[in-house]
C-alpha cells in the first residue's frame, strides 16, 4: 500500500500565497510516482519535520549579502524563530550553504570544496543577484555567472542584497522542499564505493586505497 505525499504546510502563510507552487507540485508528483510504503511514511514525515525546523546554515559570505545575513541573524529579524539560528563555521556541521555574494573564478574551487565537505542531505540557496547570475558584475572577467554553474541550487533568492524578509521567505521555500522529501531509501542512501568494483573487494590494494583516502 502506498501513501501519497501532500503539499507541505507552513504556519501562518497559506499554501496559495507562495510563489512557484508548480515546481513544488511537480516535485511531489515525481516523488509520489515511486510510491511510499505505509510503514515508513509517517516516520519520513517526522524526520522531515525535524529537519526542516533545524536547518543550520554554514557561515559563508563573500560580500554585501553577508551583512544582510548578519542582520537576519540579529534581534529584529531573528531567524531563530525558524530554527536557522545556529550558524556553523565548519562545513561538516552545516545543512545549508547560503551563497551570500559574488563568486569569483578564484573562489569557485573553494566553494566547490566547501560543498563537497558538507554532509548529506545538503542544500544550497543562492542569495542575491551575484550568486544567481553574476548580478551587476556579470560582464566581469573574474566573476562566475551564477553559482549554479558549479553547484546544484535549491532556492534562488533575488535582490541586491535581498531584504531580510525575502531572505526568510527563501528559507521557508527551502523548508517546504525539505518537508516533502523522502528519507528512507533515498536521501540517506550511501554513496557507492568507487573502488569496490574496479579493484575487487577484500584485495590488498583495496585496503591500501581506503587508507590513502582516509588520510587525504
Amino acid at each position: 500500500m502506498a501513501v501519497r505525499k501532500s503539499a507541505p504546510v507552513i504556519n501562518n502563510i497559506p499554501y496559495e500565497e507562495f510563489n512557484d507552487n508548480a515546481t513544488l507540485e511537480k516535485l511531489i508528483d515525481e516523488l509520489n510516482a515511486g510510491g511510499v510504503s505505509a510503514a515508513v511514511a509517517p516516520l519520513d514525515k517526522l524526520i522531515d519535520w525535524g529537519r526542516s525546523n533545524s536547518l543550520w546554515p554554514l557561515t559563508f559570505a563573500t560580500s554585501c549579502c553577508g551583512i544582510e545575513f548578519m542582520a537576519v541573524a540579529a534581534a529584529r529579524y531573528d531567524m531563530a524563530r525558524f530554527g536557522f539560528e545556529i550558524t556553523r563555521n565548519s562545513p561538516r556541521q552545516g545543512d545549508v550553504l547560503l551563497v551570500n555574494g559574488t563568486i569569483t573564478t578564484k573562489m569557485a574551487p573553494v566553494v566547490k570544496r566547501l560543498y563537497d565537505q558538507m554532509c548529506d542531505p545538503k542544500y544550497v540557496v543562492a542569495v542575491g543577484g551575484c550568486a544567481i547570475s553574476g548580478g551587476p558584475f556579470t560582464k566581469s572577467y573574474h566573476v562566475v555567472k551564477g553559482v549554479d554553474k558549479i553547484l546544484p541550487v535549491d532556492v534562488y533568492c533575488p535582490g541586491c542584497p535581498p531584504r531580510p524578509e525575502s531572505f526568510l521567505y527563501a528559507m521557508m521555500q527551502l523548508q517546504r522542499k525539505v518537508r516533502v522529501e523522502n528519507f528512507f531509501g533515498t536521501t540517506n542512501r550511501k554513496q557507492k564505493d568507487p573502488y569496490k568494483e574496479t579493484i575487487g573487494f577484500g584485495s590488498e590494494n583495496y585496503a591500501e586505497l581506503l587508507n590513502q583516502q582516509e588520510q587525504a
Partner: protein, 525 residues
C-alpha cells in the same frame, strides 16, 4: 574648485631619486599608486604623494616605462612599505615589472592566470574562459627582478617562508577574517612569526568594468565595493566627476551628503563594534550593536529605499529628496538611541576584563609605521597620526561644522577600538549642528543627457568609514572613463597586518584583524 591634476612626468631612470627627494621634502605619505595603460605612450604609473604631517598638500608624479611589451620601472618599496603591495597590484593588472622589488608575485589573480587583464589590448575572458575546477597551487617562491651588467633582466628566487616554518592557512573561509581573506601564517608554538596575505577571492574587476560603462553606470558599482561606506564611496566618485565637469552642487545637497556620510560612518562603526564582539565571543554585545544599527538603516530606507546598497548620490545631486520624517528620526537617533546605546556598549564590553587583557598593548603600530603603510582612518588616528580629511581637506559641508579629531597615542587594539566609539559621538555632534538648518534648494543640478568629463586627470578623496578613500579618474573626453582607480581603504590595513601581528598569539590575530576593521570587497575591488 577644480580637482584636475597635472602629473609631473619623470623618466624611469630619475624616478627613484625624485621620489626620495620629495619624501625628504615632507611628502612622506604615498596616498595612491595608479597603474595605467596609455596605449601609444606606453604603460606606466602615477604616484600620488601627500604631506602627511602638515597641510595634506598633494603632488603627482607620472612615470612611463620605456618598453611597451615588457615594461619595467624601478621600485619604490624601499621608501614606503605600502609600495610593496601597490606595486604587486600594478604587476598583476598591467604586467609592469618593478626592478628591485623583493616580492614580485601576483596579488589578486590566480598564479595560472593568462595575461594582464587591465591592459587595453588584453582580452581576459577569451584566455581564461574556463572556471577552474582544481584548487589553486600557491607557490612559495618570491621573485626579485634585477638588471645585470649587460642590461638583461634576471630573476632571483627566494622562499616566502623560512625552510622550517610551520605554516597554517587562516581563510579563505573563516568567520573571523570578515569575508574571504586568506592569511598564510607562519607560527612558532602559538606565536605568529609571519603573515603572507593572499588576496583576490572577491576581486570582481570593478575598475576594468568601469572603463566600458557610462559615468552614471559606474556609480552603481561603488556601493558594492565598500558596502559599509556606500555613501562615502559614491560621494567620492560623484564629487570627482562633478568637480571635473565644473558642476557646483547646491548647499542643500552638500548638507544632505554630509549628514548621510556621517550616518553611514555611525552605521559602519556600530557594525565594527558588533563584529569585534562576536569575534571575541561576546554575542550579547553583537545583538546590542545590531539593534541600534537597524535604526540607521530605517532612516536610510525611508529616504532612499535601500538598506545596505543605497544608490543615493548622483552626479550633480542626490536621487530623492529627504523623507518628511527624516529630521525627526535623525534627531531621535542621535539624541536618544545612540547615547543610550554607547553607554551600554561601554558597560558591557569596554570595561570587560577579558577584552581589556586581549586588547591593551596588543598589536601596536607606531606613527611612522602607519604613515609608511598608509593606514588611514581609525587605525592611523589611534597611532597619533592626524589624518582626518574632513579636517585637512574639507569637502561638502565639513567646513561649516566644529568637531574634534579623535587621536590616541599607542596605536594598540584598545586605541583602535576606542577611536571608533568616540567617533560615533563626534559624528552625532556633526549631525546635530547640521540637522536643524538644512538649506532649501534643488536636490539635482540640470545636466546634459550624456555626461562627458573633459579630458584630463582628476583626483578626489573623502574620509571614508575606515580611511582615506580616493578616486583617480582619467578621461579622454568620452562618455566613459579611460581609467578609474579607487584608493582602497582596506589594502594598506591588510599590508600592515604582518607587522602588527608579529610575535603575538594566534588569538590576538583575531583581535588585531577585528580592530583594523577592513572590508574585503573593498580591498580586492
Amino acid at each position: 574648485m577644480s580637482n584636475k591634476i597635472n602629473p609631473i612626468v619623470v623618466a624611469p631612470e630619475e624616478l627613484h631619486e625624485k621620489l626620495a627627494a620629495l619624501k625628504a621634502e615632507g611628502y612622506d605619505f604615498l596616498e595612491c599608486l595608479t597603474g595605467c595603460d596609455w596605449e601609444e605612450e606606453g604603460l606606466g604609473v602615477v604616484y600620488s604623494l601627500t604631506k602627511s604631517s602638515t597641510t595634506f598638500e598633494m603632488t603627482h608624479i607620472k612615470c612611463v616605462a620605456n618598453d611597451k611589451e615588457n615594461p619595467t620601472l624601478p621600485t619604490v618599496s624601499d621608501l614606503w612599505d605600502i609600495a610593496n603591495i601597490y606595486e604587486r597590484e600594478v604587476y598583476d593588472f598591467y604586467g609592469i615589472i618593478f626592478i628591485g622589488h623583493p616580492d614580485m608575485r601576483r596579488l589578486f589573480l590566480r598564479e595560472d592566470w593568462v595575461g594582464f587583464p587591465m591592459r587595453k589590448n588584453d582580452h581576459p575572458e577569451e584566455k581564461n574562459a574556463e572556471i577552474p575546477s582544481t584548487n589553486e597551487e600557491i607557490s612559495d617562491t618570491r621573485h626579485k627582478y634585477m638588471i645585470d651588467a649587460d642590461g638583461k633582466l634576471v630573476c632571483e628566487d627566494s622562499p616566502v617562508f623560512a625552510e622550517d616554518a610551520y605554516v597554517v592557512n587562516i581563510g579563505p573561509q573563516h568567520p573571523s577574517t570578515h569575508g574571504v581573506l586568506h592569511l598564510r601564517t607562519a607560527i612558532e608554538g602559538e606565536r605568529v612569526k609571519q603573515i603572507d596575505p593572499h588576496l583576490g577571492y572577491i576581486h570582481r574587476g570593478i575598475e576594468k568594468l568601469s572603463e566600458n560603462m557610462t559615468y552614471p553606470q559606474t556609480l552603481a558599482l561603488t556601493d558594492r565595493m565598500d558596502y559599509l561606506g556606500a555613501m562615502q564611496t559614491r560621494h567620492a566618485l560623484c564629487m570627482c566627476i562633478e568637480q571635473a565637469m565644473g558642476i557646483e552642487v547646491s548647499p542643500r545637497v552638500q548638507v544632505i551628503r554630509t549628514i548621510m556620510d556621517e550616518l553611514q560612518r555611525i552605521d559602519s562603526h556600530i557594525l565594527f563594534f558588533s563584529c569585534l564582539c562576536q569575534d571575541l565571543g561576546a554575542t550579547t554585545a553583537f545583538l546590542y550593536g545590531f539593534r541600534d544599527r537597524e535604526e540607521v538603516l530605517k532612516i536610510f530606507e525611508k529616504t532612499t529605499g535601500g538598506r545596505l546598497i543605497i544608490n543615493y548620490n548622483m552626479i550633480g545631486g542626490v536621487a530623492h529628496d529627504l523623507h518628511p520624517d527624516f529630521v525627526k528620526d535623525v534627531k531621535h537617533f542621535i539624541n536618544e538611541t545612540m547615547p543610550k546605546g554607547l553607554k551600554e556598549y561601554h558597560s558591557i564590553f569596554t570595561g570587560n576584563v577579558i577584552f581589556r587583557n586581549r586588547s591593551i598593548g596588543v598589536g601596536p603600530l607606531s606613527r611612522e609605521q602607519v604613515i609608511s603603510y598608509g593606514c588611514t582612518g581609525g587605525t592611523g588616528r589611534a597611532a597619533g597620526w592626524h589624518c582626518d580629511l574632513r579636517k585637512h581637506r574639507p569637502y561638502a559641508a565639513y567646513n561649516q561644522v566644529k568637531f574634534n579629531e579623535i587621536t590616541y597615542e599607542s596605536g594598540d587594539s584598545m586605541d583602535r577600538y576606542m577611536v571608533r566609539l568616540k567617533e560615533i559621538e563626534e559624528s552625532c555632534e556633526i549631525i546635530r549642528q547640521l540637522i536643524d538648518n538644512i538649506p532649501e534648494g534643488p536636490i539635482q543640478e540640470k545636466l546634459k543627457p550624456i555626461v562627458k568629463v573633459p579630458e584630463g586627470c582628476y583626483y578626489s578623496a573623502v574620509e571614508g568609514s575606515r580611511g582615506i578613500l580616493g578616486v583617480y579618474l582619467e578621461s579622454k573626453g568620452d562618455k566613459s572613463p579611460y581609467r578609474l582607480h579607487y584608493r582602497s581603504t582596506g589594502l594598506p590595513l591588510v599590508a600592515a597586518l604582518d607587522e602588527a601581528c608579529r610575535n603575538y598569539m594566534i588569538a590576538d590575530l583575531i583581535t588585531i584583524g577585528g580592530t583594523m576593521d577592513y572590508i574585503i570587497p573593498d580591498i580586492d575591488r
